[in-house]
């Protein structure tokens, strides 16, 4: 997988939410996403950035425009050094919330993207990577 462009954004305040999702939006449009796909990946980024800020106490996001087998995509990597998630499986199933809306955030977000991976260690932090691909034949 080739990385065509990469942007690092610090999540050090609530402003990070707007900054990350705007960057994701810009990259998704460039990658040829249609309006539905742009809204899906931008909203997913918004959810995860807020999670990193509210639950993880801040961190960093890396927004990448990627290319694989002739298709364009957007990949976003979120890292925080927060308390971590105790039961990841349960958090992903939804209907589970430690604080406001975490459960819906994770399970709902997963349905908006093509790829979703999470690695969380209690006391160390959470690392989430999401990716979404432009539909075949989409024009950048």
């Amino acid at each position: 997988m080739g990385v065509l462009a990469s942007y690092s954004i610090e999540i050090a305040s609530e402003d990070g939410v707007v900054r990350v999702r705007n960057q994701v939006r810009e990259v998704a449009l460039r990658a040829g996403f249609d309006a539905f796909a742009v809204a899906a990946i931008s909203t997913a980024a918004s959810e995860l950035t807020r999670n990193a800020w509210v639950h993880g106490g801040g961190g960093a996001a890396r927004v990448e425009e990627v290319e694989e087998a002739g298709r364009r995509g957007v990949r976003v990597d979120f890292r925080d050094a927060g308390p971590g998630i105790q039961d990841v499986e349960r958090a992903l199933r939804g209907g589970f919330s430690t604080r406001r809306s975490l459960g819906l955030g994770l399970s709902g977000t997963r349905r908006l993207v093509d790829e979703f991976s999470i690695d969380s260690t209690v006391g160390v932090g959470t690392h989430i990577v999401i990716a979404k691909w432009a539909r075949l034949g989409a024009r950048a």
């Binding site: 065509l4 002739g70 539909r135 034949g137 989409a138 024009r139 950048a140």
Partner: protein, 309 residues
């Protein structure tokens, strides 16, 4: 219908100065190579006519490529284009204008439907004939050097041609898919602000997502107040399909429109109830005709029987 042009592909393939520099580095094309080729231009001009003739001899001899060259006038025109293309190798430049020129050639070949294998095979013959001409005039060392420089540029050209072919194929697939999607989601306007979608066949998650998007787009574009979805023709309505339909209904509601599900069979009714769905806010009818009547009452109209002839 073809909508793309070779300049679209310049954009699709992101062939900007960065990409050009990266490709040149990768193919090892240096100024020395370009200088060497430029110095060979007089030689190329002298041998051009016989190389082009030999090249077309191959194309006309082979039955499959001959099919593409059935018109003598076309062949003459192609020979002209071929000369420019051939001499382009000895211009001693490899810039964006050169790339665009090469891309156009690949684009035209793809467009007339010439399979890539013939394109590559013909290019091979080209190199062979040029190599012969080089050996005739130059010493062995100079020939090897010239051939290496030429090879770099030829591979560079070939990569562009392959990219163009692949991009065109992806385009074709996307167009076919769009056509199939359009056919599979035929939204009809039955009345002012009332739309009807008769669903037929099998519904998997991918199609369900596409149905939802089409329905939402059409409701929004046409400011429809009611969307009738008739599912009488859906092969199997299992819990998953029912769930997809309910999501579409919920999404239409968010836009401010109502959905009426019609064509509900006893079996579908059972499935929906077993799903435990809250049906209090849902509009459903067994028959499409009743659904249309309900739709009209929702938009404050009714069918006026008297005005009908």
């Amino acid at each position: 219908m073809r909508t793309g042009t070779h300049s679209d592909y310049m954009r699709t393939l992101k062939l900007d100065s960065d990409e050009l520099a990266s490709r040149r580095r990768f193919f090892g094309i240096e100024e020395a190579d370009l200088d060497r080729l430029r110095a060979l231009r007089p030689l190329a001009e002298r041998h051009m006519a016989s190389i082009i003739e030999g090249f077309y001899f191959l194309l006309l001899e082979h039955p499959r490529t001959r099919e593409f060259l059935n018109d003598p006038e076309l062949v003459e025109r192609l020979k002209g284009a071929q000369k420019r293309y051939f001499l382009g190798l000895f211009d001693g430049r490899c810039d964006l204008a050169y790339v665009e020129d090469r891309l156009r050639v690949g684009f035209i070949h793809e467009r007339v439907g010439l399979p890539l294998k013939w394109y590559l095979g013909a290019y091979n013959r080209y190199l062979e004939l040029t190599g012969k001409a080089l050996r005739e005039e130059l010493g062995p060392e100079a020939t090897t050097a010239a051939q290496l420089s030429l090879q770099k540029l030829v591979f560079f050209d070939t990569a562009l041609a392959v990219d163009t072919y692949v991009a065109a194929q992806i385009d074709t697939v996307a167009r076919h898919r769009a056509a199939v999607e359009e056919l599979s989601t035929p939204v009809i306007r039955v009345f002012d602000r009332v739309l009807l979608l008769p669903l037929v066949g099998t519904i998997d998650s991918a199609r369900a997502q596409s149905i939802m998007e089409t329905v939402l787009r059409r409701v929004s574009d046409q400011e429809a107040k009611v969307m009738i979805i008739d599912i009488a023709g859906v092969a199997v309505v299992d819990t998953q399909v029912a769930d997809h339909l309910l999501r579409a209904t919920a999404a239409v509601r968010l836009l401010g429109a109502a959905t009426i599900l019609t064509g509900i069979s006893p079996q579908v009714a059972r499935t929906v109830v077993e799903l435990g769905v809250d049906i209090s806010s849902m509009h459903t009818r067994s028959r499409l005709a009743d659904g249309i009547e309900l739709a009209l009452s929702l938009v404050g109209r009714k069918i006026n029987v008297e005005t009908r002839e």
